[in-house]
C-alpha cells in the first residue's frame, strides 16, 4: 500500500494533468463549440497532492525500486523525508484550493474569452506538473529522479510566474528562468563531478563520494551555489523579489513556501552534513557569513519595497539566509548536525507554511471575505507575528533552535539570528502596512475556496511544531525564556513604529527608499550581461568579416585557377600542329639514344 502511494505521489498529479489536456483536445477538436466550457480547476484538479499527504501521514518507511526507470529508480519515504513531504504537500493543497477561488474571475470569463480560457488551461496544466516535480524530488533517492524532479519543477514554474502575460510578469519570468538555468548548470556540474568521482547513483552514495573526493570542497561549492539560486543565497537571490510580485498569489505562495525549500533540500541531500571527514569546514564558515549577510541585507532592501509581495519575497531571502547559516553551522561543526537537522527541517516547515499563508493573505487583503474587519486583521497579523518569532510556531521554532545551538562553538549564531529577527519584524510590519494601504472591498463569501484555504492555512501555520512529524518533541518555551525570545520582535515593532511616525510626520516616504528597485543586483547583472553580449557581437562580426575575406580570397584564387585551366585549351591546336614533328623528334632522339647506348654498353643494343 505504501509503495502504491509512493508511486502515486508524482503520478497522480500527472494523471490529473493528462485529464486537463484531454479537455484541451476536446476543445481543439471542436473550436466552434458554444455554451459553457468545463471548469478546468475543479475539485479533482485540487486533489493532486492528496497521495503525498496520505503517504506522509501513513506510519512506517517504504521504498520503491524500479530498475527500468532511467538509470535505476529508487524512491523512498523515511523519517528524514516525512516532514518535508507533509508540509510541502499541505501547502500545495491549500494553495491549489485557494487558486480555485483566486482565479474565479478568469474561470467565469472563460465562457466568452478564448484567450482567458487558454491561459487558465495553461495554469491548470503546469500547476500539477510543477507539483509533481516538487514532490518527486522529495521522495527521490536516485540522482536522476532527483534532478528530474528539480528540473521539472523549475521549468514548469516558469509558466506559473508569467501567468498574467503582462510586461512585468514576462520580465520577472525572464529573471527567474535565467537565474534558474544558471543554477541548473552549476547543479549539473556538481552532480556529474561528484557522482562521477565516486560512481554514485543514489544521493547517499553521492554524499559519501563528496566526502571522499579530493576536490570535495569544490564539488560542494558548486552544489551550494547551484541549489543556492533556488534557496536565495545572497547575490543569487535576485529572481525572488522580481518573480514573486508578478506571479498569481497562490503561485507566489508555493514558490516562496515550498519551491525555494527545494534548494535547501538539495543542500541537505547532496552535502555531506554531519560527516567529520569531509573537511568542508571552510565552506561552512563561508555559508554562515553569506547567509547572515543575506539575512540582514534583504531586510534592509525589503523595507524599501512598496509591493507587499516584494516585501514578503525579501523576507523570504532574509529567512532563507538564516536557514542557510544553520546549514553552514552544520557543515563547519559536523558534531552539531544531529541536533541541527530537525531544527532546520522545523525552521523550513515553519517558514514554508507561514510564508505561504502570508502570501495567501495578500490576496485576502485585496479581496477580503465578508467577515468582521478585526477578525481578518488579527488573522492576517497572526502569521506575521509567528514569522517574527513572537507567537505560536515561530516562538517554538526559535526556542528549539536556541537549544540546538546552545553550548556549542556556534552559540553566537543564535544571537545573530535573533538580531536578524528584528529585521523580520520590521519587514512584517511593512508588508502589513502596505497591505492595509492597498486593501480592497469586501467581495467574497467566507465559505469561498479562497477564504477557506486561507483560514485553514492560518490555523495550520500557527502550530507547525504540533503536527510536523519531526521525530522529536518540540516544547513550549518556559516563561523564564520568553524575554530572551521576544526582545527582537519588540525591538522590531518599536523600530517599525518609529519609521511609521517619521513617515507620518514627513507626509510620505523618503525619496531614497523609492529608488531601491525590487531585484537590486539583477539590474547590475543585466547591465553587465548586455555589455558582454555587445562585446561578443562585435567580436563575432569581425570574425565573420575575416571569414568572408578569407573565403572570397580563396574564391578569387579558384576562379583564377579555373581560368588558367581553361586557357590550356588554347594550346590544343598548337599540340596538333606540333604532333608529327614532335613524334619524329622523339623517335630520332630514341634512335640516337640506342645508338649511343650500344656504343657505351655493347650488351644493351641487342642480344649478342
Amino acid at each position: 500500500m505504501r509503495e502504491i502511494l509512493l508511486a502515486l505521489v508524482p503520478i497522480w498529479p500527472l494523471l490529473l494533468m493528462l485529464r486537463s489536456s484531454l479537455w484541451f483536445a476536446v476543445q481543439q477538436g471542436d473550436p466552434h463549440r458554444l455554451g459553457p466550457r468545463p471548469h478546468v480547476l475543479d475539485p479533482w484538479w485540487a486533489s493532486a497532492p492528496l497521495p503525498a499527504i496520505a503517504l506522509a501521514l501513513w506510519p512506517g518507511e517504504a521504498e520503491l525500486a524500479v530498475e527500468g526507470w532511467m538509470l535505476g529508480g529508487l524512491w523512498q519515504i523515511d523519517e528524514a523525508r516525512r516532514p518535508w513531504l507533509l508540509f510541502a504537500a499541505l501547502l500545495w493543497g491549500l494553495a491549489g484550493w485557494y487558486a480555485r477561488g483566486y482565479l474565479a474571475d478568469e474561470r467565469h470569463g472563460t465562457a466568452h474569452d478564448d484567450g482567458e480560457f487558454r491561459r487558465l488551461l495553461r495554469f491548470a496544466l503546469l500547476w500539477p506538473l510543477t507539483l509533481a516535480g516538487n514532490l518527486l524530488l522529495i521522495v527521490a533517492e536516485d540522482i536522476p529522479s532527483f534532478y528530474l524532479g528539480f528540473v521539472t519543477m523549475t521549468l514548469a514554474a516558469y509558466g506559473l510566474v508569467v501567468h498574467t502575460g503582462e510586461r512585468e510578469a514576462r520580465h520577472g519570468g525572464f529573471a527567474y528562468l535565467v537565474m534558474a538555468l544558471l543554477g541548473e548548470a552549476m547543479i549539473l556540474a556538481g552532480l556529474l563531478w561528484a557522482a562521477g568521482s565516486g560512481e554514485a547513483l543514489t544521493l547517499t552514495e553521492l554524499r559519501v563520494s563528496v566526502t571522499e573526493a579530493e576536490q570535495g570542497l569544490w564539488m560542494a561549492t558548486l552544489l551550494w551555489l547551484g541549489f543556492g539560486v533556488k534557496a536565495g543565497v545572497a547575490g543569487l537571490h535576485v529572481w525572488l523579489p522580481l518573480a514573486h510580485p508578478v506571479a498569481p498569489t497562490p503561485a507566489s505562495a508555493v514558490l516562496s513556501g515550498v519551491m525555494v525549500k527545494a534548494g535547501l533540500l538539495g543542500w541537505l541531500s547532496t552535502l555531506p552534513l554531519g560527516s567529520a571527514e569531509a573537511g568542508l569546514a571552510p565552506l561552512g564558515e563561508v555559508i554562515i557569513v553569506v547567509g547572515l549577510v543575506g539575512a540582514f541585507a534583504a531586510a534592509l532592501l525589503g523595507v524599501a519595497q512598496r509591493h507587499p509581495k516584494a516585501v514578503l519575497a525579501y523576507s523570504s531571502v532574509s529567512q532563507l539566509g538564516m536557514i542557510a547559516s544553520l546549514v553552514g553551522a552544520g557543515l563547519s561543526a559536523p558534531v552539531l548536525w544531529p541536533a541541527l537537522a530537525p531544527a532546520v527541517a522545523l525552521f523550513a516547515a515553519h517558514h514554508g507554511m507561514t510564508k505561504g499563508v502570508l502570501f495567501l493573505g495578500v490576496g485576502i487583503s485585496e479581496h477580503p471575505p465578508r467577515l468582521p474587519a478585526w477578525l481578518i486583521g488579527s488573522l492576517l497579523l497572526l502569521p506575521a507575528l509567528s514569522l517574527a518569532g513572537a507567537f505560536g510556531s515561530g516562538l517554538m521554532t526559535k526556542e528549539f533552535l536556541k537549544k540546538a545551538l546552545h553550548d556549542s562553538d556556534h552559540a553566537a549564531l543564535s544571537t545573530w539570528l535573533s538580531a536578524a529577527a528584528v529585521g523580520t519584524t520590521v519587514l512584517m510590519a511593512r508588508a502589513l502596512w502596505r497591505q492595509w494601504r492597498e486593501r480592497g472591498e469586501h467581495a467574497i463569501a467566507w465559505r469561498s475556496p479562497m477564504a477557506l484555504a486561507w483560514l485553514v492555512g492560518v490555523l495550520l501555520a500557527a502550530g507547525v511544531p504540533l503536527w510536523l512529524p519531526l521525530g522529536k518533541h518540540v516544547h513550549w518555551p518556559p516563561l523564564a525564556d520568553l524575554p530572551g525570545l521576544l526582545w527582537p520582535a519588540a525591538l522590531g515593532l518599536g523600530l517599525a513604529g518609529l519609521v511609521l511616525l517619521a513617515a507620518l510626520l514627513r507626509r510620505g516616504e523618503p525619496g531614497a527608499l523609492s529608488r531601491l528597485h525590487a531585484g537590486d543586483l539583477w539590474w547590475g547583472y543585466a547591465a553587465l550581461a548586455r555589455w558582454i553580449l555587445a562585446g561578443l557581437a562585435t567580436l563575432s562580426a569581425s570574425l565573420e568579416a575575416w571569414n568572408s575575406r578569407v573565403r572570397s580570397a580563396f574564391g578569387k584564387r579558384e576562379r583564377r585557377m579555373i581560368a588558367a585551366l581553361d586557357d590550356l585549351t588554347h594550346f590544343e591546336p598548337h599540340f596538333r600542329r606540333l604532333a608529327i614533328p614532335l613524334m619524329v623528334g622523339v623517335g630520332g632522339l630514341l634512335l640516337l639514344g640506342f645508338w649511343l647506348g650500344s656504343l657505351v654498353w655493347p650488351g644493351l643494343a641487342g642480344p649478342g
Binding site: F24, Q28, V66, E67, G68, W69, M70, L71, G72, G73, G115, R118, R122, P144, Y147, L148, V151, L155, G159, V162, G165, L177, L181, L182, E184, A185, M186, L188, A189, L192, W193, A195, G196, S197, E199, Q215, S540
Partner: protein
C-alpha cells in the same frame, strides 16, 4: 551457426526496391507507397531478427573476394546492428513522413528512388565488415544523397548540392588514400581485428598516427567536424525529410559511425589511447561542440539553427568515444541513437511548420503551440532532450559523458558539457518560449506566412504520426533507459565487449 543470408537479405531488401521504384510510373503513388513501406517494414524485421540472433550469440557473415587482397565482407556485430537498427527505424518513420511531405510535388519517383538507395547505403555502411566494403557504401551514400539535396532544383539547391559534392568527394578521396595506405601497410583489415595494427611494433607508430589523421580527415567531412562542417548548414535547402535523414542517420551519422569504427575496430581503443589519438579527438570534439552551439545562436531561421545544433551534437558522440573508459563508450554509442531520434523529431517539426504554416524563420513561430499543439509538444520534448534535460534521452548521454570524463581523468570536460548545455538552452528555449508563451496569429495577431489546412488534425496525419512517434521514442529511451534492448542497454552491452574481451 552461420546464417550468412540474413545480412545479405537485409541489404538486398533496400537495394532491390530501387529499380522497382524507378520502374513504377510517376503517378502510381499508392503502389510506390506500398513498396516503400513494405520494404521498410521488412528491413526492420530483418534487423530485429539479427538483434535477437546476436543476443543469442549467433554469428552472421558473408564474403567474397573482389580482387586479390580486397574482399567484400558483410558481418553483423553489435555496433553495426545498432546503426542498422537506427536506420531501419527512422527509414520507416521518414518514409511515412516523406509520402505526406511530397504529396503533389514533382519528381517523386526520382526522390524515392534515391532516398531508398541512400538508406541501402547506410545499411551497407552498418553491416560492412572491412574498410573496403565500408568505403564502397560510403561513396555510394555520397552519390545517392546529391539528388536529394538538390531535389528542388532551384539555383540555391543546385549550389548547395555542388558544395555538398565538393566537400564529400574531397573527403572521400582523402579517405580512399587512407584506406589504400592501410592496405599497403597491413593488408585487408576486417573490423574487429584490432591486433593487426597493435602487433606492428613501435617503428610503425608514427606512420599509424599519420594514417589515423588522414582517415579522420576523410571521415570528418561527413561527421561535420569543425572546420570541415561548411557543407552541412548549406545543405539545409533540401526538403525536410531529407534534412531529417541526413542529420539523424544518413550522412552525418555515417561519418560519426566511421570514426567509431576507426577507433574501436581498426585501431582498437587501447592503441588509440597509447598513441595519444584520443586526446586529439577530444580536442576536436570540444571545439566542434562549442563552435556549433555558438554559431547556432546567431541563426535566424529554424533549419540552419538545427543544422548547427547537429554539428555540435554529433560531436558528443565523438567526445564520448574519445574518453578512455567504458562510460565514455556508453555515452558515445548511446548518443548515436539518442541524437538520431531527437534530431529527426526536430526536423520533422520544422517541416511541419513549413508545410502547414509556411514558417521558416524563428520569429514567425509566435504562438504556434496553439495552432499545432502536438507538433509543438514534440518539438519541446526533443529540444529539452538536446539541452540534456531529464527525462529525455539527451540526459542519459550527458550523464554518461560526465561519468566518462572523470573515468578518463578529464574533469574539465564537465565544464564543456555545462557550457554547451547553457548554449543549447540559449538557442532552444527561446523557440520553445515563442511556441507556447508568445501571442501570435493563432491569437489573432498578424497572419501565418502561408497557411494550408492539410488534414483533419493540425496538419496531415502522414506528417504528424512520425513526428509524434519519434518524440515518444526520444522520451521513452530516456525515461525507460534501464529496460532491456534500450539504446543504453545496447551501448552497455557493447562497452562491456570492448573493455572486457
Amino acid at each position: 551457426m552461420s546464417e550468412a543470408w540474413l545480412p545479405v537479405v537485409a541489404l538486398a531488401a533496400s537495394l532491390l526496391v530501387v529499380p522497382v521504384i524507378f520502374a513504377l510510373p510517376e503517378r502510381a503513388w499508392r503502389a510506390r507507397a506500398v513498396v516503400n513501406l513494405g520494404a521498410a517494414l521488412f528491413k526492420l524485421l530483418m534487423v530485429m531478427l539479427m538483434v535477437y540472433g546476436l543476443y543469442q550469440g549467433r554469428d552472421y557473415n558473408f564474403s567474397f573476394t573482389v580482387v586479390q587482397g580486397a574482399s567484400f565482407l558483410l558481418q553483423v556485430d553489435a555496433m553495426g546492428l545498432m546503426f542498422a537498427g537506427l536506420s531501419a527505424l527512422l527509414w520507416l518513420a521518414t518514409t511515412v513522413y516523406a509520402i505526406g511531405y511530397l504529396e503533389d510535388s514533382p519528381n517523386r519517383k526520382r526522390f524515392f528512388g534515391f532516398f531508398t538507395l541512400c538508406i541501402a547505403s547506410t545499411v551497407g555502411i552498418a553491416l560492412a565488415g572491412n574498410l573496403f566494403t565500408f568505403l564502397l557504401f560510403y561513396e555510394m551514400l555520397t552519390l545517392s544523397t546529391y539528388p536529394l539535396v538538390a531535389h528542388r532544383g532551384h539555383p540555391e539547391a543546385l549550389r548547395a548540392g555542388t558544395i555538398y559534392l565538393r566537400y564529400t568527394l574531397a573527403g572521400g578521396l582523402v579517405l580512399l588514400l587512407g584506406v589504400v595506405a592501410m592496405h599497403v601497410l597491413v593488408g585487408d583489415v576486417s573490423f574487429g581485428q584490432r591486433e593487426m595494427l597493435a602487433d606492428l611494433g613501435p617503428d610503425a607508430r608514427p606512420m599509424l598516427t599519420v594514417l589515423f589523421v588522414v582517415l579522420l580527415a576523410g571521415l570528418g567531412v561527413k561527421a561535420a567536424l569543425v572546420p570541415l562542417h561548411g557543407w552541412l548548414p548549406r545543405a539545409m535547402v533540401a526538403p525536410a525529410p531529407v534534412s531529417a535523414l541526413l542529420h539523424a542517420v544518413a550522412v552525418v551519422k555515417a561519418g560519426a559511425f566511421g570514426i567509431v569504427r576507426l577507433i574501436y575496430d581498426i585501431y582498437g581503443i587501447g592503441l588509440s589511447h597509447e598513441l595519444g589519438l584520443l586526446s586529439l579527438l577530444t580536442g576536436i570534439a570540444v571545439v566542434t561542440i562549442l563552435y556549433g552551439s555558438v554559431r547556432a545562436l546567431s541563426q535566424q531561421e529554424l533549419k540552419p539553427r538545427l543544422a548547427y545544433s547537429t554539428v555540435s551534437q554529433v560531436s558528443y558522440i565523438i567526445l564520448g568515444i574519445s574518453l578512455f573508459g567504458p562510460y565514455g563508450t556508453i555515452a558515445g554509442l548511446s548518443h548515436l541513437l539518442h541524437q538520431g531520434l531527437m534530431k529527426v523529431t526536430l526536423f520533422y517539426c520544422a517541416g511541419n511548420y513549413a508545410e502547414e504554416l509556411g514558417i521558416h524563420r524563428i520569429d514567425d513561430l509566435n504562438g504556434a503551440g496553439r495552432r499545432m499543439p502536438l507538433t509543438s509538444v514534440a518539438f519541446t520534448v526533443a529540444a529539452l532532450g538536446m539541452i540534456g534535460m531529464p527525462p529525455v534521452a539527451g540526459f542519459i548521454t550527458k550523464w554518461y559523458l560526465g561519468m566518462g570524463a572523470l573515468q578518463a581523468g578529464m574533469p574539465w570536460v564537465i565544464a564543456v558539457l555545462v557550457v554547451s548545455s547553457l548554449l543549447n538552452s540559449a538557442y532552444f528555449l527561446p523557440i520553445v518560449h515563442r511556441l507556447w508563451f508568445r501571442q501570435g496569429p493563432a491569437h489573432g495577431q498578424g497572419r501565418w506566412p502561408e497557411e494550408r489546412n492539410l488534414g483533419r488534425f493540425e496538419t496531415s496525419a502522414w506528417l504528424l504520426l512520425p513526428t509524434a512517434a519519434t518524440a515518444m521514442f526520444s522520451l521513452m529511451t530516456g525515461l525507460l533507459a534501464g529496460i532491456a534492448f534500450s539504446p543504453l542497454d545496447l551501448a552497455i552491452f557493447m562497452a562491456n565487449g570492448e573493455y572486457r574481451p
